[in-house]
């Protein structure tokens, strides 16, 4: 043991430093995290694709649990495989004595209980959380969106700066000259007027006295002095003071958002297989995402049709299958009915998106054109039609071309892969109606 005296000295030398690091950045690992995501981009992308299939359209803006097979991302190292002879020590013996023979436990046969640290715990999936932004990134990538659009969509709120009167503080560039000078003038008038009044009075008095007395009479000199002081006082009021400065005030205002309704129309006749439906789903999702930026409240209406149309919920919309022919006009009629009944055009911004494989009963197509041109197009903000097919165009396409020439806000596009979806929206993004 050390004698007490030395303890004190030692203690003085080795004073521990205590540092509060809590305020330092906590995202030291952010770069490494990004590297990880970049590295396994393709695998994560696949996981995201699967996730999109499982998501509802309105559910697009959340993070996501991503699962990747553990073996795809493992870091290899030289280590022992199972086999050969190993001898290991374990604790907690109860009934064994030397020379006992016991059956190999099934779960780790051959491993002999080796605590191989590099073999993990037999977990075969690596699961982690993708943030909302990262998720959208992957979603956009699929759709081949231009960067500008990506940022527009990823931004949560749109704001506008508006003038809001004047403020007493700000940057020099924002000084409002007229307002400031007005203020200064008012202040000068207010502060100078008592002296000026007095001054006038004294000056009058002086004039009167001067007529009666000589210039060097003591009381005249006193009067003159008084006038001098008053003049100084009037002058001492500054022409402009910091106090007078007024700045243009600008505040950020959330854009006036209103409500919108989005009609999703889809052909569910036998020829629309699950893959085509998945493509349609991306198409509807993107439109939803866009509308979500601009409108506070969006209602979704799902209309599926074969020969007759029906309003359904999302689940039924994407996953139930029907057979039979196709009559597109039935859906358009239903849509029109719903609009007149529930969504008066004065209160609602109406958007419609239609997905189909192009099949339609031939006699029905002219009817569709008529319906759209005369009754629906005047009501809606935007109508997008996609045809998911690789076959030759049919009747419906040609009829729709007609509409396109009449209405600017009608777009149509043939789609073979997911990347073809974006052009449909190009004009929509360009206009960016508010």
């Amino acid at each position: 043991m050390v004698p007490p005296g030395t303890q004190v000295i030692l203690g003085a030398i080795f004073v521990s430093q205590i540092i509060d690091r809590r305020l330092n950045g906590k995202n030291k690992s952010a770069v490494n995290r990004q590297r990880f995501i970049r590295r396994f981009k393709n695998k994560i992308k696949r996981a995201v694709s699967d996730a999109i299939a499982g998501r509802s359209i309105t559910d697009i803006e959340k993070g996501e649990h991503v699962r990747i097979p553990e073996k795809d991302i493992s870091e290899p190292s030289f280590h022992h495989g199972s086999g050969g002879t190993t001898e290991n020590i374990h604790p907690g013996n109860k009934e064994f004595t030397a020379g006992d023979r016991v059956r190999r436990p099934k779960s780790q046969s051959g491993k002999g209980g080796k605590k191989a640290s590099n073999s993990g715990e037999g977990e075969d999936e690596f699961i982690f959380e993708l943030s909302r932004d990262e998720f959208l990134q992957f979603f956009f990538e699929d759709l081949a969106l231009p960067d500008l659009i990506k940022t527009k969509l990823a931004k949560l709120e749109t704001e506008k700066t508006v003038r809001a009167g004047y403020a007493t503080s700000g940057i020099p560039a924002n000084i409002n000259v007229i307002r400031s000078l007005k203020g200064a003038m008012g202040r000068r008038i207010a502060l100078q007027s008592p002296y000026k009044k007095k001054l006038k009075k004294k000056e009058k008095e002086l004039q009167a006295e001067l007529k009666r007395f000589g210039e060097y009479e003591p009381h005249i000199i006193a009067l003159k002095n008084e006038i001098c002081v008053l003049k100084k006082k009037v002058h001492a009021i500054p022409y402009i003071d910091e106090f007078d400065l007024r700045y243009n005030n600008r505040i950020k205002q959330n854009l006036p958002t209103t409500q919108a309704v989005m009609f999703c129309l889809m052909d569910v006749s036998g020829s629309m297989d699950q893959e085509k439906k998945e493509i349609s789903k991306r198409f509807f999702m993107l439109l939803y995402l866009f509308l979500n930026r601009n409108y506070e409240k969006i209602e979704l209406v799902f209309i599926r049709h074969h020969t007759i149309a029906m309003e359904v919920d999302e689940e039924n919309f994407f996953y139930s299958r029907e057979t039979g022919g196709t009559v597109v006009s039935s859906a358009l009629e239903l849509m029109h009915d719903i609009i007149t009944e529930r969504y008066p055009e004065n209160d609602w911004n109406i958007y419609a998106a239609q997905a189909s494989d192009g099949d339609n009963w031939n006699d029905d197509s002219p009817l569709c054109r008529e319906l759209l041109t005369n009754t629906i197009m005047p009501l809606v903000q935007y109508y997008a039609y996609i045809e998911i097919t690789t076959d030759v165009h049919q009747n419906l396409w040609h009829e729709y071309l007609n509409i396109k020439s009449k209405y600017e806000n009608f777009v149509m596009q043939r789609i073979e892969g997911i990347a073809d979806i974006y052009p449909v929206f190009r004009s929509l993004f360009k206009k960016k109606k508010v």
Partner: protein, 500 residues
């Protein structure tokens, strides 16, 4: 004499931490614990997760594998599957220890005693750390490494750097000198020498291969030529750094960085039981002393003992959460046992430890801490009493037999056997396959041959091919692995061909 306790609630403040640290430091000095100065840093949970995922390096270069680590730590923590470790401590001078802000005062005191005086003194005095690591320079070196890697990323692209790092990481465990001493690190020298080395190395490599461009006919007296390298080389990364024909100078430097870091962590891998045992023994001893002095309350002690008991919990082999021997439990039991043997030896102890009984326990324990690593520590100090207390037994698994055999238990016949087996189990040389650089074909296809010296017929694991692919990426020519079987037969077990 009862004193007023340092604190009575579980809330901590910076002043309280200072006071506890002063008292703990006083007690540690009374036991002659030599330490580096401490730098105690209070951090938040998120920061703890950051520290966790950079495998204890306070500054580290960027790599996706750390990101992966972070994501899984984060996920496990968020789901409540895992509590974060109470502490992380870094072998540096000053010795950096992290305290989490969520901890109670009791836990902070426990961590201070455990990390700042336990681990710290181990880092400072154990022979492995003294000869293999340089605590003064490590932070500087890590900083140098980080800057260098960033610099390379800017110049040669993130992806190229990442691929090189991947390959180096795969060989990290084979980047250590097990027997030679490494050079000391110093930032200034390191930076100056790096430039010099870069130029010189390339020159040397060029020279080596220029002279050995396959000669047409003149020199076919190869038969008498010596093998290169003359002796098998255990440090794969070192060999690659110095000899790989196609590596760019910056890639050699990266190989070197990974190798140096592997070397720095090597002693920690060799002294897990001792290091944790030592730190646990001292937090236990120091906090008990605080209690005896009346500086801490009963409530403090109950909370502390509960945490302590959790730390040294050793589930039996047949319990569901058993995952091998807990180094804290084994280490703590052995350290406490040495003290017991010194103070109250039994007849048995006198037979087994003639040098130990009736010595000053502080001195004997200090000697044990300084001069051993796990393997030799267990071989020297595992006593029959510890074997009995933990009820250790030895299981032989031979894949030619249908059943396992119990070869030894905690009885007179078994003690020696168990001691040897357990010591072997902590020999890193036995844990990892013995793989060395065997030869390079300098005059022909420039291929590199590694040799796996098989022990007890244990084969290589299934990721061997993947690792070989990394070796071939670094080497640039054909690489192959020969396996020398226990019976002396040699066969080529893995080969990755690249046309010269």
């Amino acid at each position: 004499m009862k004193r007023k306790p340092l604190s009575i609630t579980s809330e901590w403040t910076f002043d309280l931490i200072k006071e506890y640290d002063r008292e703990i430091s006083r007690i540690a000095e009374s036991y002659n614990l030599e330490t580096y100065p401490n730098q105690i840093e209070v951090i938040s949970t998120e920061q703890m997760m950051d520290a966790y995922s950079s495998v204890g390096m306070p500054v580290g270069y960027h790599h996706w594998s750390f990101g992966k680590q972070f994501l899984s730590t984060e996920k496990n923590y968020r789901r409540g599957r895992m509590g974060l470790a109470y502490e992380i401590v870094i072998n540096s001078n000053p010795c950096i220890a992290y305290l989490m802000e969520e901890n109670t005062m009791t836990m902070q005191a426990l961590v201070i005693a455990h990390a700042c005086y336990g681990h710290n003194s181990f880092f400072k005095s154990n022979y492995l750390f003294q000869s293999w690591t340089n605590a003064d320079a490590i932070i500087d070196y890590l900083l140098f490494a980080k800057n260098y890697v960033t610099h390379c990323e800017e110049r040669y692209g993130e992806e190229a750097v990442e691929l090189t790092l991947d390959s180096c990481h795969a060989l990290m465990n084979y980047g250590v000198d097990r027997y030679q001493h490494p050079y000391r690190l110093s930032l200034v020298k390191e930076e100056a020498r790096q430039k010099e080395r870069e130029a010189y190395l390339q020159l040397q490599i060029n020279e080596l291969w220029r002279k050995t461009i396959p000669a047409t006919e003149k020199e076919n007296s190869d038969i008498n030529k010596k093998r290169y390298p003359e002796e098998p080389q255990e440090n794969l990364l070192y060999f690659i750094e110095k000899n790989a024909p196609l590596l760019e100078p910056w890639q050699r430097e990266i190989v070197r960085i990974v190798r140096k870091i592997a070397q720095y962590f090597y002693p920690q891998r060799q002294t897990q039981v001792m290091n944790e045992g030592w730190a646990t023994f001292w937090h236990y001893t120091i906090l008990n002393r605080l209690y005896e002095e009346g500086q801490v309350t009963d409530g403090f002690m109950i909370e502390f003992l509960q945490a302590h008991t959790n730390v040294i919990d050793q589930p039996a082999f047949d319990e569901p959460h058993y995952s091998g021997i807990n180094p804290y439990a084994l280490g703590f039991t052995m350290m406490s046992d040495i003290r017991r043997i010194c103070e109250n030896p039994t007849e048995e102890d006198k037979r087994w430890f003639p040098d130990l009984h009736n010595t000053d326990w502080v001195k004997s324990l200090d000697f044990a801490m300084r001069n051993f690593k796990d393997e030799s520590f267990i071989a020297q100090y595992l006593s029959p009493k510890v074997i009995r207390d933990l009820k250790l037994f030895s299981v032989l698994d031979d894949d030619t037999q249908s059943e396992l055999e119990i070869t030894a238990i905690h009885d007179d016949r078994g003690y020696q056997n168990i001691r040897e087996q357990l010591s072997n189990q902590y020999n890193l040389g036995n844990r990892e396959p013995n793989i060395q650089v065997y030869s390079v074909n300098r005059r022909g296809d420039r291929s590199l041959t590694l040799r796996h010296y098989q022990h007890n017929r244990r084969p290589l694991g299934d990721s061997t091919f993947d690792v070989m692919r990394h070796v071939s990426r670094l080497w640039g020519f054909t690489v192959r692995m020969e396996t020398e079987h226990s019976n002396g037969n040699i066969e080529i077990s893995h080969e990755i061909e690249i046309a010269p």
